[in-house]
């Protein structure tokens, strides 16, 4: 138990975040309890049992205080000034902090506000707002803009933090939306304020997307972009909807498997050029961080990247990495950065599925004695089914709660679709590798990828049309 005290610490930390969200306790009270727990820990440090209890209490109240701090809007937040102005048109200066997305005949992106000008006042401000710009203008991450438009609070549009989309924006600290005026509503300031690393990562992402588009059909390219680069927008809606029906839409999300492939490619490549073992592990880490930025730093990728980095550090230190402790540490790091992530459906599904596989799969496997099967292929199919069942069991509650649907067909669909998705992901990285190392072979890799995508879509459609594929709650 003491070996995995970190797991208990993170569980109490997460409980504190949940408790703070459910219970309305004043901020002063939370901080007081946190301080009392900390003081008790110091006083009782020589008594091992009591010390652990105090540390767990510290974790609980720390989580509560962290969420309180994350939810509090600073005085300079643009939301405070919006409430006090009645000007119908505002001019906001800021820079784009999220990659722009195509939206309803225009473009939408998140803008970090720096200045707010209205008819009556001008002031510096902070905070993020969701911006919609009509037309076909091209915008990029980090670009500094002066936008003139109508600012609206989401609550005025009937959205509160209890609605799904409202909760999604609320958890990201976005409370206002700005619709730019047509024509001269947007002025570029010709200054890029984005992080250099993120700009470089997006440059690589665009280059990789162009490689996929150049060598494969539009559907295959969109699937590759989703699986390898984390860009789901281009996937045809009919295919996306069919995957939701079968509960296999998770394959279109970049996950730990992709991180594993990137690590393996890097380690292999560095070994081929005779880089020493320890240097290979050290060099792998910044590339994993870069890949994390390329794919948009979503919860599954961040979790997997942290786990991979911890594993590499453990190898460097010649120590054995404990899976559960590494898993808990990954959750702790993510929640430390943004405790509101705990309420994000992506975070919940990612961690619950992996935890269920880690915990339930060995139990299912020993119960059914899958290792006793002599035939290799039947053992593979049974084990794949058990992994799918474990993951489904871990996520069924969250999916039913958030999406009001239960998909029993997922357990069987995953057995066929996950290996195909694996193959497609590997083909995607192969395409990128061949593009630089051996362009003459890229055509053959593209054709193989097309075949795999064709089989993926056909098999998924088959499962989607089964009568008991999905039940709505």
């Amino acid at each position: 138990m003491k070996k995995r005290f970190m797991v208990a610490f993170v569980l109490f930390f997460a409980s504190g975040i949940i408790g703070a969200n459910l219970l309305s306790v004043s901020m002063a009270c939370k901080y007081l309890l946190f301080a009392v727990s900390l003081a008790s820990g110091f006083l009782l440090r020589k008594k091992s049992g009591w010390l652990e209890v105090c540390i767990l209490c510290v974790a609980f109240f720390f989580g509560a205080c962290l969420l309180e701090s994350a939810q509090r809007v600073p005085d300079c937040h643009i939301r405070n000034f919006y409430l006090h102005t009645r000007s119908p048109v505002h001019v906001i200066k800021g820079f784009i902090i999220q990659e722009p997305q195509d939206s309803y005949g225009g473009v939408s992106f998140v803008l970090r506000a720096q200045e707010l000008h209205s008819e009556t006042s001008s002031r510096s401000c902070c905070g993020d707002i969701l911006v919609y710009v009509g037309g076909k203008g091209k915008y990029s991450y980090g670009e500094s803009l002066l936008i003139k438009g109508k600012l609206q609070s989401f609550s005025r549009r009937g959205l509160t933090h209890k609605d799904k989309y409202g909760a999604y924006l609320y958890n990201r600290g976005i409370f206002l939306a700005l619709r730019a005026l047509k024509g001269s509503g947007v002025v570029r300031v010709h200054k890029n304020q984005g992080l250099l690393l993120k700009r470089f990562a997006l440059y690589l992402k665009e280059g990789s997307a162009r490689i996929f588009s150049r060598h494969t059909s539009p559907i295959t390219a969109s699937i590759l972009k989703a699986m390898v680069l984390g860009e789901k927008q281009g996937v045809p809606k009919s295919i996306y909807r069919a995957m939701i029906h079968t509960g296999t839409v998770h394959i279109l999300v970049v996950s730990g498997f992709n991180v594993g492939i990137v690590s393996m490619l890097l380690l292999c490549g560095l070994k081929l050029i005779r880089v020493p073992r320890k240097a290979r592990f050290v060099l792998c880490i910044p590339f994993l961080i870069l890949y994390c930025f390329i794919t948009g730093a979503c919860a599954p990728v961040v979790r997997a990247s942290i786990l991979a980095i911890l594993l590499l550090c453990a190898k460097l230190a010649q120590r054995e990495a404990d899976t559960y402790v590494s898993f808990a540490l990954a959750a702790f790091i993510i929640l430390l950065y943004d405790p509101r992530q705990l309420f994000d459906v992506g975070f919940q599904l990612s961690f619950s599925s992996v935890f269920a596989i880690l915990y339930l799969y060995p139990k299912f496997s020993s119960f059914l004695r899958s290792s006793a099967l002599k035939k290799r292929y039947s053992r593979y199919i049974l084990e794949a089914g058990l992994v799918s069942l474990a993951a489904w069991t871990g996520t069924v509650f969250f999916i039913a709660y958030h999406f009001k649907v239960i998909t029993p067909v997922t357990v069987f669909a995953n057995i066929a679709i996950v290996p195909l998705a694996t193959l497609i992901t590997l083909c995607g990285f192969t395409l990128l590798t061949f593009n630089f190392l051996c362009p003459s072979l890229i055509l053959y890799a593209a054709l193989t990828t097309e075949l795999c995508c064709y089989l993926l879509v056909k098999i998924n459609l088959f499962f989607a049309k089964l009568p008991w594929a999905q039940f709505r709650i």
Partner: protein
């Protein structure tokens, strides 16, 4: 020569298999036309809902179609013996040009 581990040897073998399968597909597609559909995916029949046979529940599952619009589509279909082409949807009340452009990604008229 490179002192590869078994895992690295498997990786090289995998790359060779990908090239072999691609080469085979290229050769076969020259002599057998249906293989061309596999080597160049299009959305013609993948997962689109047939507007002539879909029931109300299926129509409502399409983003952009609510209960009222689904009823209008079914009523139009019954009155006019089905849709001859998807463009006929533009005649239904509530389907603007913008909405039609969004809906045609999900629908097909067989």
């Amino acid at each position: 020569m490179f002192d590869l581990t078994p895992q690295e040897r498997k990786s090289v073998l995998f790359l060779a298999c990908i090239v072999f399968i691609g080469l085979t597909l290229r050769l076969v597609s020259k002599f057998y036309t249906p293989v061309k559909h596999i080597t160049s995916l299009s959305l013609e029949a993948f997962g689109k809902i047939d507007i002539n046979t879909a029931d109300k529940e299926l129509l409502v599952s399409v983003p952009g179609i609510g209960n009222t619009l689904a009823e209008r589509i079914i009523k139009y279909r019954e009155e006019n013996s089905g849709f001859k082409a998807l463009e006929e949807m533009r005649l239904i009340k509530g389907i603007t040009r913008y909405r039609f452009d969004k809906l045609k990604e999900h629908l097909i008229a067989k």
